[in-house]
Symmetry: C2
Subunit: 150 residues, 2 copies
């Protein structure tokens, strides 16, 4: 595949951006694009992360989900330390092309570094005192065994 070059969206009309066939991703003022990653089969949201232009290009070229780590200030191939890579089946873009969605297949049994299938493992509920707290899902793997291998 040709190395993708992203054209700046400033020269495009709203109609071209929202209804056109041209891929014109719009990065925010920090040069980043929000990315929602879902399981290709179940459609369940697995995680949310950010992409720089290079992260998006690398994802397209390699077919492996690659994000931009804001805390580490560099590209981050998901699964490089855990072995739980994400094979990208499809890339979708929202109406104003400022958010992408990856549909991926995950190697192994989970995505989150805390041992859960999805990073969204807690649901808000009202407790007996009418306060908000979480219901927590069951873990799908032991993170100690995956991330602290000796």
């Amino acid at each position: 595949m040709k190395k993708p070059e992203f054209e700046p969206p400033e020269n495009k009309s709203r109609k071209e951006i929202e209804l056109g066939k041209e891929f014109i991703p719009s990065f925010n003022s920090q040069g980043l694009l929000p990315c929602i990653t879902v399981d290709a089969e179940s459609k369940e949201v697995l995680m949310f992360a950010w992409m720089s232009p290079d992260a998006l290009k690398q994802t397209i070229e390699t077919g492996k989900a690659t994000y931009y780590s804001r805390s580490r200030g560099k590209l981050w191939v998901k699964g490089e330390s855990s072995g739980r890579e994400q094979q990208v089946e499809q890339i979708l873009v929202d109406c104003d092309q400022d958010v992408v969605q990856l549909r991926v297949r995950v190697q192994g049994e989970g995505t989150c570094h805390n041992g859960y299938r999805s990073c969204f493992y807690r649901a808000v509920k009202n407790n007996d005192k009418n306060e908000l707290e979480y219901i927590i899902s069951d873990r799908s793997f032991d993170p100690e065994k995956v991330y602290n291998k000796s």
Copy 2:
């Protein structure tokens, strides 16, 4: 339900934030939280938007998805002009509590103002010239009839 007050996450340990049962949403430097909204039944991602503390409180109190419109600088009850309200079935939060996911039931046949069930109606593919372009889904309603009622 008690009006929720959100405690600042600065006083909490990483363990309390990531594995605790306490709801401590972490808003970004603009005071906003990314929100992924999915169909409660199919789990399909419908849209991505932002929430201020007031938007999140109002969503919890009313059970109707309420976002913060950055372009209009105010709260935005989804569906207030189209009639396509989102009834919230569940609120999930990610590991570091800086992204929320709403599982909603939508009134009517679509979410996107362009006439699609989801805002993610375009998938990236390679065309014959080995360039990236979109495959576009079929519309689920005519936006002219919904938004330009006379």
